[in-house]
């Protein structure tokens, strides 16, 4: 996987070019070498590892370590990878075709329409880890007054802060107030 791996460092996980991105959730036993044992079947079956997300200190009730692995591979190879993982004794919790691991809502308040809403949205979509799922606009006092918009974003696992930073920057520039979701903790 060496070649592909290097590329993936700075390139977004595009779904074109015959490969798709996938998120696999695993539970690992807390033993040395466990992670490596997991990664081998991925590489050996045509998968390219994009990122590994492991919340330090986060342990399942059974004492296992939850890990999220983002990988890309041709769609017809994905089944094989998951099978190989299971054969290697890895506990696969969820294997989704969904590239985006998380959804988050954020509300913008300000002169949204006057300040070119579509530009705002394209800046946000310009973040390689975020994609706009839907938008809901409320302008009770008309389009040229202060309005609010709720944006639902799909973001790559572990990239919520990155995506929010893009939202904060454009909001700052256009003088919007941002109501961010509360990430972390069980609100």
């Amino acid at each position: 996987m060496s070649e592909l791996d290097e590329e993936s460092d700075d390139e977004p996980a595009e779904t074109d070019g015959g490969v798709r991105a996938y998120t696999v959730r695993l539970e690992l036993v807390d033993e040395p070498g466990e992670l490596l044992r997991t990664l081998e079947p991925i590489a050996n079956n045509g998968g390219n590892l994009l990122s590994i997300h492991h919340e330090r200190g986060n342990i399942t009730p059974r004492g296992h370590i939850p890990v999220e692995v983002d990988l890309e591979c041709p769609p017809d190879r994905f089944e094989g990878i998951v099978e190989a993982l299971r054969e290697a004794g890895v506990n696969v919790i969820q294997a989704g075709a969904d590239r985006y691991g998380e959804e988050l809502n954020v509300i913008l308040v300000g002169h949204l329409v006057e300040s070119d809403l579509s530009d705002t949205l394209s800046v946000i979509e310009g973040n390689e880890h975020a994609s706009l799922v839907d938008l809901s606009l409320a302008a009770p006092e008309g389009m040229d007054a202060v309005s609010s918009a709720r944006l639902r974003l799909a973001v790559d696992t572990g990239r919520a802060d990155d995506a929010l930073e893009t939202v904060r920057e454009i909001a700052d520039e256009k003088d919007f107030c941002v109501v961010e979701p509360l990430l972390g903790g069980d609100a």
Binding site: G57, N105, V106, I107, V109, S136, A138, A139, P140, V146, S147, S148, A149, R150, R152, C177, V179, E180, P181, L182, G184, G185, D186, A187
Partner: protein
């Protein structure tokens, strides 16, 4: 314990009223201009009655309080920012005299935490400040019980006025100004609600918590603070479409302090309603703890002061 109380406002007078019930004695009580000092016990009702009637609280000078034979100074004068005076000097003086200090005043603990701890280190007395965060809700003592090292973050709602306004806006579909006026009529919001709605009051409390977690290092200046003044009713409507609502949420970690309007699940623990407060204490080994209750008010805050007094070792 023998208490000397500085401040005869909502908090100071409640501490004076309730001290006996908690097994303590008031030997001095002062407001900004007068004091009453009596080593065999101040006649609290008489002194407060006289103040209420527009007369002096007592015949002493506030300065005389420090000369009294007291064990614990209760600092309940107004919270001030920056140098946190005159509260800071009051604490300094008591610690230099080897007395304990219990603060309701947030200023010194938020703005000059390291200096307080340094003074404490050189004193036979110690400081406690449960009342500065969340009124009646045990926050500092819960962190102390968990041991601060195992607490990773504290989040929550620590301003009842802002929470009341957001709750009413969501429920009635009204705009900020309408609800603020209503809150002022009800006495929930003060005539000048600036520090409540612009996030300063909540930020001071989360700065105190960050100081507890990190053994100092933070002041108001380090906090990232946004208020609720610019949250329109339409934003709450949009949040509700998706089962969420907006609350003025603070977060304290070892990395810093943030206070601002945030989206939270409508039925989640942090979406308390009305003037209620809540804190979520995130621990390393035991998940999250939630403490909720009345975050302000004279008797509520006084119970936190008196619980602190009860935790002090005898001098």
């Amino acid at each position: 314990m023998r208490l000397a109380i500085l401040g005869a406002g909502a908090v100071g007078r409640s501490v004076a009223d309730l001290a006996g019930e908690y097994g303590h004695e008031v030997v001095a009580l002062a407001d900004s201009s007068h004091a009453t000092v009596d080593e065999s016990g101040v006649a609290v009702a008489d002194a407060l009655g006289s103040k209420d009637a527009g007369d002096a609280l007592g015949s002493h000078d506030p300065e005389d309080v420090f000369e009294a034979d007291y064990d614990v100074l209760v600092e309940a004068t107004p919270t001030t920012l920056g140098d946190a005076e005159p509260g800071f000097s009051h604490v300094e003086r008591a610690l230099e005299d080897d007395r304990h200090v219990v603060l309701a005043n947030k200023g010194p603990v938020a703005e000059r935490y390291e200096e307080l701890r340094a003074l404490e280190a050189d004193s036979a007395g110690s400081i406690r400040f449960e009342a500065t965060v969340g009124g009646a809700i045990p926050v500092c003592s819960t962190i102390e019980d968990c041991t601060p090292q195992s607490v990773t973050a504290v989040r929550g709602v620590l301003n009842g006025t802002a929470n009341f306004i957001l709750t009413r806006m969501a429920a009635e579909g009204l705009d900020y100004e309408h609800v603020l006026a209503e809150a002022q009529d009800l006495g929930v919001a003060e005539a000048d609600p600036t520090f409540d709605v612009d996030g300063t009051d909540a930020a001071l409390k989360f700065v105190i918590l960050a100081n507890v977690l990190s053994e100092g290092g933070f002041s108001l200046e380090d906090a990232e603070v946004t208020g609720i003044q610019n949250v329109p009713g339409s934003a709450l409507d949009l949040a509700a479409e998706d089962g969420r609502t907006i609350r003025l949420i603070g977060e304290a970690t070892r990395e810093g302090v943030r206070v601002g309007p945030r989206l939270v699940p409508e039925n989640g623990a942090l979406a308390v309603t009305g003037t209620r407060n809540i804190v979520q204490i995130e621990t390393k080994n035991a998940g999250s703890l939630h403490n909720s209750g009345r975050g302000a008010g004279g008797p509520e805050t006084a119970t936190a002061v008196l619980s602190d007094v009860g935790r002090l070792p005898s001098l």
